[in-house]
């Protein structure tokens, strides 16, 4: 090899313009094919999310038992195909790397070293040390602690728009969701159902946790709620309920009324629900999920309006926005609006990088990665927020959910592709979930 490397003559020659044009045509054709790819469904009619590419058969047959060394070598010799990169990166022990990274960054640093080390880190990644709280760098025992730093009160003024940024970062993409698919990059989409999960008709979720969420809200009377000192009218917080057929009022705005909740049937007729509006939320959710599955719609449920929220209100649309947090950014996230979180779904997945470069190269990265989908409602209907983990920040914390454990040891992980669900049952009979005010701190990403 050394002899061949040293003595084989290298001959350079220009490629004809036609070859370049042909290459561009092939790349464009492949991109178009990828965006129009056939959706594979499982026995329940749900989309199957799996790795794709020329190495799929070998990967299916051998899984991660394929020699990692072999893949590693191939990566450097054949790193020309985004599909191929999925398999190569999938073969890397990213979870293990994340554990090790987290452990290393939890080690306590010498006090004398902390200011120098954190200043170097801040210089490299562009952290603003003037806004951190506490400002004394020696106070942070480890890099992990510095990474999860707080900001001084008032460092982030809150705009008066209905939707504000939940985090410091870069807006990767935003737009309208069409046909239940979210655009990851131009021309490439992923399934909304795969991102947020759907209840399996006829079978319970893989694991269900019910607990009393920390009650941060107090319903002052029938019309107002106080969330962390901010008063919201219930209509502003949850929206205006559509009155059930045959009645003038109903829904969340008038919780004391015992009105049957109308449920749409397969034929579009209205019929009384078999569960009471005051039944435990999980009973209603299970019932409505069944109805929604029967109707063939996504069961994002809007209890207040007695209809599946997958079918949005007339005149409404589903929107999405993706915000990327760079390593130097403040890594806690806040509520982007006044809303009520009804449930969370923890998807255990891989921990691929979610850098803009990787998002451009790796299809379905947001669906493959470990993530926590927080689902609920706001004044306009359905609202969901999904923090997605990455290799360096595999741990996701939710302040009001002490039971949540992300990036756990492999032996205790649920099967890939399933999710663990928790229903937030607030003490409030009206809000029925975890209420959040705009810009309220919700949690964050931790190193490793």
């Amino acid at each position: 090899l050394a002899d061949a490397w040293n003595h084989t003559p290298t001959k350079w020659y220009p490629l004809p313009v036609a070859v370049g044009a042909l290459l561009l045509i092939v790349l464009q054709y492949r991109r178009t094919r990828r965006s129009e790819k056939e959706v594979q469904l499982d026995e329940n009619g749900l989309e199957v999310v799996k790795l794709k590419g020329p190495w799929q058969k070998a990967y299916d047959a051998f899984g991660l038992s394929i020699s990692k060394t072999y893949c590693f070598t191939l990566h450097f010799s054949m790193c020309i195909d985004s599909y191929f990169q999925v398999h190569v990166f999938g073969a890397f022990p990213l979870k293990r790397l994340s554990y090790v990274w987290g452990y290393l960054n939890s080690l306590e640093l010498p006090v004398w070293f902390r200011p120098y080390g954190f200043k170097l880190y801040s210089w490299i990644f562009g952290c603003n040390l003037n806004e951190i709280d506490p400002p004394d760098l020696a106070h942070y025992a480890s890099l992990g602690e510095f990474f999860y730093r707080k900001l001084k009160p008032g460092a982030r003024p809150v705009a008066d728009t209905v939707l504000v940024s939940p985090a410091d970062g870069r807006v990767l993409h935003f737009g309208v969701i069409r046909d239940g698919r979210v655009e990851q990059i131009k021309g490439a989409t992923y399934s909304l159902d795969a991102l947020l999960g759907v209840e399996r008709h006829g079978s319970p979720p893989p694991a269900s946790i019910e607990f009393q969420a920390r009650d941060q809200a107090e319903v002052l009377d029938r019309d107002f709620a106080d969330i962390n000192g901010i008063q919201y009218s219930l209509q502003d917080l949850l929206g205006t309920p559509c009155p059930p057929s045959g009645s003038a009022e109903g829904g969340v705005g008038s919780p004391t009324q015992e009105l049957p909740m109308p449920m749409p049937t397969k034929h579009g007729e209205q019929t009384d629900a078999s569960v009471s509006p005051d039944a435990p939320l999980q009973d209603v959710v299970a019932h409505e999920a069944g109805v929604a599955a029967e109707m063939g719609v996504r069961p994002f449920l809007d209890r207040a309006q007695g209809r599946p929220a997958g079918s949005v209100k007339p005149g409404h649309s589903l929107f999405f926005a993706v915000i990327y947090l760079a390593p130097g950014d403040y890594h806690r996230f806040h509520s982007p609006a006044a809303w009520v979180v009804e449930k969370r779904r923890h998807f255990v997945g891989d921990l691929f990088s979610v850098s803009p470069w990787m998002v451009d190269k790796l299809a379905d990265v947001f669906v493959l990665n470990e993530r926590v989908a927080l689902l609920g409602r706001w004044k306009y209907g359905f609202f969901g927020m999904v923090p997605v983990g990455a290799t360096n920040v595999g741990s996701i914390k939710i302040n009001f959910d002490q039971a949540l454990r992300t990036n756990v040891d492999r032996r205790r992980r649920p099967p890939v592709g399933t999710f663990e669900e928790a229903v937030y049952t607030s003490a409030s009979p009206v809000l029925r979930g975890q209420p959040l005010s705009k810009a309220q701190e919700m949690g964050g990403f931790c190193l490793g």
Binding site: R156, A159, R170, H334, V354, Y380, G381, F383
Partner: protein
């Protein structure tokens, strides 16, 4: 790390940011 927002809103909802724009907590993202 990344945060994905998915929400229902009136069709006249408008994002007030640009792709690639840097943004901070609490800054305007969209409005009706």
């Amino acid at each position: 790390s990344t945060i994905v927002l998915v929400f229902e809103a009136p069709q006249d909802f408008e994002f007030v940011v640009k792709t690639g724009q840097k943004i901070k907590v609490g800054e305007r993202l969209g409005d009706v």
